[in-house]
Symmetry: C2
């Protein structure tokens, strides 16, 4: 079996032991005589898996407010639509930290007034603004806890007088966060928690009660809560991979252990950048650096192209920047091992030595 | 490895060789050094897989009108919403063949007038009506080519003067159908074509041009066409299972071979029902019987319960009727082997011998 150092930005690597577990029971899930993808979503086995997955999420995220947990297909883009369709009555505020915030805001603009509560555009999205202009009648403030494209991450969360909805797609369970402060959290699972094909949403009951009812049933969070994510066939396999990842995170020591692991990996790469005398130029301002996505530039697009090509030759996959901004990006989600980050750091040093 | 006779109504069995192929490359897809679920949806490998999957669909379905093919998460329920949201301007007609038709019509009613063009309710949905009351200004007629709950299937398709949208979720590629007669076909893949988590939609260009534009971008078919199903991260693994199933169908001989195979399986079970002297009572009228879902009753709910329990004890899974209607149901999608159908037929005869 051949395995590369995989730094894809999502979909992204899974821990090898998790993959092997899935592989080993692929034709016979727990002695049922069928694979997980051949199983009815209304079977006792899948219902148990679903319940366990929700319980693990509540435990690992430290949920204490009796939040509802649902699984919805369609990724972040579906959530951009549903969040606004369900909760935007007068106006909604969006923290402008880059591309994902724009996508969220633009989707919301279809349903009503969606405005920027702040903006990091003035310094090319290299930081997280810490002030919020909240207009009267604002239904919620939307934030993106980690910005995969610019490589910034929230280290302090907004203290505002409106419900906060957090798109946690790219750093959920990568660190300890007080999840009870948010009216709603949602996340695509394909970065830190499993295979692309489902998002999870965690909603406070009192926030859910404010949701509109003049919305197609399938686009109402209420429907997914009432039908326990089985209004129609859910993405069984994706929820199953989420379950496996949650067990893995728990066995590794939970959110705190993930935070230590992810800090260590990010520090290795930022140390190379900071010690490179400008050969590598980190995009994010140090106080706002993401532990999930280390974004940087080299002296020229040509040199970046060469760096990415040499990295690929040396077995490092997925280090090109996002297609919209270019540059380089190393994504360090939960499954990426410290050894992989170390190998990448060594490669960066070696590359600088030969080209610098 | 333990394998049962699996007659689940969806999600449903996959051919063992397909499962084994997926399993064997689960940690290293084609020498890339990563599993398919760890791979970027923008990678060359996945883009090639996507293009091949579309080409296989066009070939196996015999598409000749240059139809657009897209993959959308959210299953049939998402399609019920999108179909009406995109195409219902004045009114839409629904052929009332049962529960799925009702779900489609009720979803459409949110967006405008959705009416029954006919109804099989008078004989408890045991047949497919062959007349259509199409009102002036009707934007499209929606039909459900196979009805999983009542066990009926279309053997002749409507000849009407409006575009026909066919929900082919439960019999796509199970037989030869002239797919060029439909303005749009869509199908969840989890019955005949792969793992739950994506639907496919096949749309004639001229029909697509009639789609509304005052719809959220993520809910427009146009968006999926323009972005080649990658407006956001698609359900990579599900599309991959679809690709594997299409290869398997092609290797087996395509739609014609599937039709022979599925006819043989269904005939085995209907012969037992018809020869049982009323011990088994088929729900569908013989001329409208589904090859995908053989639905029947026994003399009493108690006897049905016993039948289902004995079947389970003997290694036959998924033979209970849909939770909304009860009774018994044996689903015979593409992956179900003739041997499985034969074993089921034998079991039914043996059960009748001991209980009849």
């Amino acid at each position: 079996m051949h395995r590369v150092w995989n730094f894809n930005a999502g979909p992204s690597p899974m821990p090898l032991p998790v993959l092997e577990e899935i592989r080993d029971e692929f034709t016979d899930y727990r002695g049922t005589g069928m694979g997980i993808i051949e199983m009815s979503h209304r079977s006792g086995e899948f219902q148990a898996l679903l319940a366990e997955t929700k319980a693990l999420l509540a435990e690992l995220l430290g949920l204490t407010e009796g939040q509802e947990i649902v699984f919805i297909q369609g990724g972040g883009s579906m959530q951009f639509v549903m969040e606004a369709y369900n909760f935007l009555r007068t106006r909604a505020a969006y923290a402008d930290t880059g591309v994902w915030a724009h996508k969220a805001r633009d989707a919301a603009a279809f349903f009503g007034e969606a405005y920027d509560a702040n903006s990091a555009k003035d310094r090319n999205y290299s930081y997280i603004p810490d002030t919020y202009d909240i207009r009267p009648g604002t239904d919620y403030l939307h934030i993106t806890s980690n910005n995969t494209i610019y490589g910034t991450e929230y280290w302090t969360f907004p203290d505002v007088n409106v419900p906060v909805v957090c798109d946690m797609s790219s750093d959920i369970l990568s660190r300890r966060v007080d999840c009870n402060q948010f009216a709603m959290i949602w996340a695509g699972i394909q970065k830190n928690l499993g295979a692309a094909g489902t998002a999870l949403a965690i909603i406070k009951k009192e926030f859910l009660e404010t949701a509109r009812t003049d919305v197609p049933a399938f686009l109402q969070y209420r429907t997914f809560v009432e039908k326990d994510s089985a209004y129609n066939t859910p993405a069984v396999f994706c929820i199953y991979t989420l379950n496996k990842m949650l067990h893995w995170i728990k066995n590794m020591g939970g959110a705190d252990a993930m935070e230590i692991r992810n800090k260590k990996k990010a520090n290795l790469l930022y140390a190379v950048i900071d010690g490179s005398g400008g050969f590598y130029r980190g995009h994010a301002e140090p106080a706002h650096r993401s532990r999930m996505n280390v974004t940087f530039n080299l002296a020229s697009p040509e040199l970046e192209k060469d760096f990415i090509a040499r990295a690929k030759e040396n077995g490092f996959a997925g280090v090109g920047g996002h297609r919209l901004v270019g540059g380089c990006r190393v994504s360090l989600y939960n499954a990426v091992t410290p050894e992989a980050a170390e190998a990448m750091a060594d490669f960066m040093k070696e590359y600088m030595r030969t080209r610098g």
